[in-house]
């Protein structure tokens, strides 16, 4: 019962090929401020934030099976804590320390009661928490500036926030990779497949679910801080609105929930679609967005990554299973049995 119980299928050589690809992609992204225009910088910046939100959302939704529709609360909270600290004269360093601490404390505080719920109920309750946060941000005017929002003076160049978002995004992908291959990840997957059986096999399901919630809260709070730092402005709609709330959910589902690459692909795919629609089509963008969602839901229920075309593709380039199809073959067999 020691280290042998990490996912058995993952071999070191295979794990490395995924990391090389990731490093190459990140190196390419790091060159954007050098070669690209300010449009490219802001596009990739928002892509980083989207990937961070989608990947961390998937820690809970993909690995544990709990749909956290209020995931954006961590992002909004990060932005607000960062902004409020700077406005109170605390300085950037203090703000960057406080942001994750406050968010993680918040996440653990809501995790304990919320994890008594399952399935759709958990999703609705977390969305309720997000809405409560939104209303609080609107109404506590002295602290948050109400509907007019919170502004901080611009202090740094966009490159610094760009690289901060990039590092956060990189960390989010690494975190997911680690979870997919770790003992904690195996426990989470067992919880997803059958919570009672997992509990019966000696997994402290409540404890690891709270770990997962806390882990999924850290990086979005930094993403929120980076967002706040770059745009120097946040209001309740852009921090806690349903647009921010559903984007990561849709990205993860679109790409393939429960995989490392899925949320990344979903985030890139949706960002590209949005850019094309918003810049080339003047009207009915949301309708087309909706049609894409419906089509993916009907024809690719497991997301883009689980469609046959993609599965073949990354079998060919040698990515390990857990990056794509399922975290390990053992669990794939388990989950097919339970259907």
């Amino acid at each position: 019962m020691t280290a042998k119980f990490t996912c058995p299928e993952v071999r070191r050589s295979k794990r490395r090929s995924g990391l090389i690809l990731l490093a190459a992609a990140m190196a390419g992204a790091a060159l954007v401020p050098v070669l690209g225009t300010s449009y490219h910088i802001s596009l990739v910046f928002f892509l980083f934030i989207s990937i961070t939100l989608a990947s961390t959302y998937d820690i809970l939704a993909g690995f544990t099976g709990y749909l956290n529709l209020g995931h954006a609360a961590f992002f909004g909270m990060g932005a607000y804590v960062f902004g409020i600290t700077i406005q109170a004269g605390g300085g950037t360093a203090l703000a960057l320390v406080l942001t994750p601490i406050v968010t993680v404390i918040f996440s653990v505080a809501i995790a304990y009661p919320l994890f008594r719920l399952r399935g759709a109920y958990f999703g609705i309750a977390t969305f309720g928490v997000l809405n409560v946060m939104g209303v609080l941000a609107t109404n506590l005017r002295d602290l948050t500036g109400g509907t007019t929002g919170l502004s901080i003076p611009p202090t740094v160049s966009t490159e610094i926030t760009f690289y901060m978002a990039g590092v956060v995004c990189f960390a989010a992908i690494l975190l997911n990779t680690w979870i997919a291959t770790s003992r904690l990840g195996l426990g989470l997957l067992a919880t997803r497949e059958d919570e009672e059986v997992a509990e019966g096999s000696g997994i402290g399901t409540m404890r690891i679910k709270i770990y997962a919630m806390a882990l999924s809260a850290v990086l979005p709070s930094f993403a929120g801080a980076a967002y706040m730092w770059q745009t120097t402005y946040i209001d309740p709609a852009s921090g806690f609105g349903s647009g921010v709330a559903f984007a990561p959910v849709i990205m993860a589902m679109l790409g393939g929930s429960g995989t490392v690459i899925g949320p990344i692909i979903g985030a890139i795919f949706l960002t590209v679609i949005e850019e094309v629609l918003w810049s080339h089509v003047g009207y009915l963008q949301l309708t087309m967005y909706g049609i894409v969602l419906v089509c993916v839901g009907i024809f690719m229920p497991g997301g883009l990554m689980r469609s046959n075309y993609f599965a073949k593709f990354y079998a060919r380039i040698g990515l390990p299973d857990h990056y794509g199809y399922q975290p390990s073959r053992l669990l794939r067999i388990m989950s097919e049995d339970s259907k």
Binding site: G123, A125, G128, V129, N131, V249, Y289, G290, V294, G297
Partner: protein, 290 residues
């Protein structure tokens, strides 16, 4: 005290409307286990239909509510046959995630298309009846008639669910789909019927809603979430539960708006929802799952 009563009457009416809209959602979630995030948008569609029926054709809201109800049933049937039937029967987790995607997509399509055609901004159905005063309390006749209409519909629904064969099949299918299949109920047909009926009910309610309050293209999702709060507070799949939940949420919203401030009223529905989920996850009148 008068004001207290006045607010209470408003709350009762609003609660009745909430219940009618929410109940379709509760039924289809109970039978199909599908989270329909586009439910509130059909209410908006019904409201717009009522608005156009009155302004261009002069049809009064009570008639157009039944037309909207029938059309809504048709739309719900199409929606079910075209999209929902393809995901029914997948594994539970997959059904949950794909239903979120599909119904959210449909919700976006409806909201964006109506705002494109309508041009944004909110509207109400300009239809009025005179008021009656009794014992110092003003009863707006329109509201009282609508209340009577919703009570009538609720009783009708209750009788449908408890007295008719199909209604009892709906209840059976929501209690135990496998058991219902074993005793010879076509659960797929029942699912389709429930879904269509729920959407028809929402569309019909939309006309009432637009007569009393105002509607706008982008309010659908918010309404759906409020409905979810109501049916969870009351208990999934239970008509009396939905009634109770609707009244609790409407009353607390109305009193919060009056005594504390309108800006806090959005907080109430979700606070009650979270409290209800934590204290009694199966809802006030729901039965715990075995």
């Amino acid at each position: 005290m008068d004001i207290f009563l006045q607010v209470l009457i408003g709350a009762v009416l609003q609660g009745a409307l909430y219940t009618l809209g929410a109940f379709g959602l509760s039924l289809s979630f109970g039978v199909l286990k599908i989270l329909n995030l586009s439910h509130g948008d059909f209410l908006t569609l019904g409201g717009f239909l009522g608005f156009f029926a009155l302004t261009y054709l002069g049809i009064n809201p009570f008639l157009s509510a039944s037309i909207a109800g029938l059309l809504g049933c048709g739309l719900g049937w199409l929606f079910y046959q075209g999209l929902i039937s393809r995901i029914v029967g997948r594994s539970f987790r997959q059904m949950l995630t794909t239903s979120v995607m599909i119904t959210l997509g449909v919700s976006l399509i409806i909201e964006d298309t109506t705002s494109f055609l309508w041009g944004g901004g909110s509207t109400g159905i300009p239809y009025q009846l005179s008021n009656i005063e009794w014992g110092g309390v003003v009863f707006p006749l329109l509201r009282v008639t609508l209340l009577a209409g919703t009570v009538f519909l609720t009783i009708g629904l209750h009788l449908f669910l408890t007295r008719t064969y199909i209604g009892r099949a709906v209840v059976a299918a929501s209690m135990n789909p496998v058991g219902a299949t074993v005793v010879g109920i076509d659960t797929r047909f029942v699912g389709m019927l429930t879904f269509a009926l729920g959407i028809g009910l929402a569309a019909g309610t939309g006309v009432f809603y637009a007569t009393l309050y105002s509607i706008e293209p982008f309010m659908g999702l918010g309404l759906t979430l409020k409905y979810l709060a109501i049916i969870i507070v009351g208990g999934m799949g239970s008509l009396p539960g939905a009634l109770l939940g609707g009244f609790i949420i409407a009353a607390s919203e109305s009193y919060t708006t009056y005594y504390i401030g309108a800006q806090w009223s959005p907080l109430i529905a979700f606070t009650i929802l979270i409290l209800a989920l934590l204290i009694r996850p199966q809802g006030l009148l729901g039965k715990a799952e075995a």
